[in-house]
């Protein structure tokens, strides 16, 4: 049985869409059922995706704005398509899974709308998700419920903003890290 069939059987109604790109399968699951779905993919005897390679955040700001009708592309699109496709949520999180037994890989995607930036943490399944989730929290500003130690990973504490968001200027907003020494703190 090919991977797509097995994933569909395992996830049942949780698989909102299953697409194949260049031989890799991307499955979209609802954000609320994320932990259950990943747990099922890990535990299922035919799949055994027991290794979490990476967790990636995506900001679809351009698509998001175009579909909302602010850009030029929205006007060019045929009207019937415009009605059908709802505006995609701005953020996406991608979980890259690997089965150490069969060497198969799977992309699991969830969509995170801008008005609800909280996602369940998968650190209860894979401890390895801890730092990638902290990175996404740092650079995209998405909160992870149930994360043991959710704080900034790359930028320093007290940094304001989330630099990997597409509406964040590349050269920053002139942030500098203040030179604080311990002696100063004591005073």
């Amino acid at each position: 049985m090919n991977l797509e069939r097995r994933v569909r059987i395992c996830l049942e109604s949780n698989a909102l869409s299953v697409e194949e790109t260049a031989g890799d399968i991307t499955v979209t699951v609802p954000a609320g059922r994320l932990v259950d779905s990943l747990m099922a993919l890990k535990e299922h005897p035919d799949l055994k995706f027991d290794f979490l390679s990476d967790v990636i955040g995506i900001d679809n700001l351009d698509l998001f704005r175009k579909k909302k009708g602010k850009g030029k592309a929205a006007e060019e699109e045929p009207p019937e398509k415009k009605v059908k496709a709802p505006p995609p949520p701005r953020f996406e999180i991608v979980y890259l899974l690997l089965s150490l037994e069969s060497s198969e890989r799977l992309r699991v995607k969830i969509q995170v709308p801008e008005n609800d930036m909280t996602v369940d943490s998968v650190t209860s399944i894979w401890r390895a998700a801890s730092w990638p989730e902290r990175e996404i929290y740092d650079l995209f500003g998405i909160n992870f419920l149930g994360h043991p130690d959710l704080k900034r990973l790359l930028m320093w504490d007290g940094f304001k903003g989330h630099p990997l968001r597409k509406d964040y200027p590349l050269e920053g907003k002139g942030e500098t890290r203040r030179l604080v020494y311990e002696q100063e703190k004591i005073r």
Partner: protein, 167 residues
């Protein structure tokens, strides 16, 4: 009886300065602060092929307290700036700084939110070495220029002026 040699920039002072500068310029012990790919060129320069020891810098000092030259080789992120400042503050006088590579001089290609645009806004820099990364020859050239700069310094100028006022 006043001895002529003691007053101002007299014979004793200038000869003493020459001696001090001779010692300082012949042993500029570097603190290798490699934060990026420039550090690899720095390693090549310290190895036998280019042999930085020919210019007296054969002892890389991994403690800032025994270093004379802070060899800043690589990108300094904004998160790193307090660390660099602190290491510079820990070095004992006299101290000099070489900014090696485009990143240390100006921020280089990384004109982004995370990169500090040139270390000279945190600590004083004596020698700038352009290049991305600079070749070992460029680093040696920078070191030689620093040596010439050290030789022209006046470490006893304060004492000389004090003596001038006394006499």
């Amino acid at each position: 009886m006043k001895i002529q040699g003691y007053g101002g920039n007299g014979w004793f002072i200038t000869k003493m300065e020459q001696l001090i500068n001779w010692g300082r310029s012949r042993s500029p012990w570097p603190l290798p602060y490699g934060t990026a790919c420039c550090g690899i060129e720095l390693m090549a320069t310290m190895a036998s092929g280019y042999d930085i020891a020919r210019f007296g810098a054969e002892r890389p000092s991994f403690s800032p307290r025994q270093a004379d030259v802070l060899l800043e080789a690589g990108t300094i992120t904004k998160k790193m700036t307090p660390v660099l400042k602190r290491i510079y503050d820990q070095m004992a006088e006299p101290k000099w700084v070489i900014a090696m590579g485009a990143c240390a001089c100006t921020g280089g290609v990384f004109r982004t939110y995370s990169t500090h645009q040139g270390i000279d806004s945190i600590i004083p820099v004596d020698i700038y070495i352009p290049g991305c990364p600079p070749r070992p020859e460029a680093l040696l050239d920078g070191l030689v220029k620093l040596i010439h700069k050290i030789e022209k310094e006046h470490p006893l100028r304060k004492q000389a002026q004090a003596l001038l006022q006394e006499s």
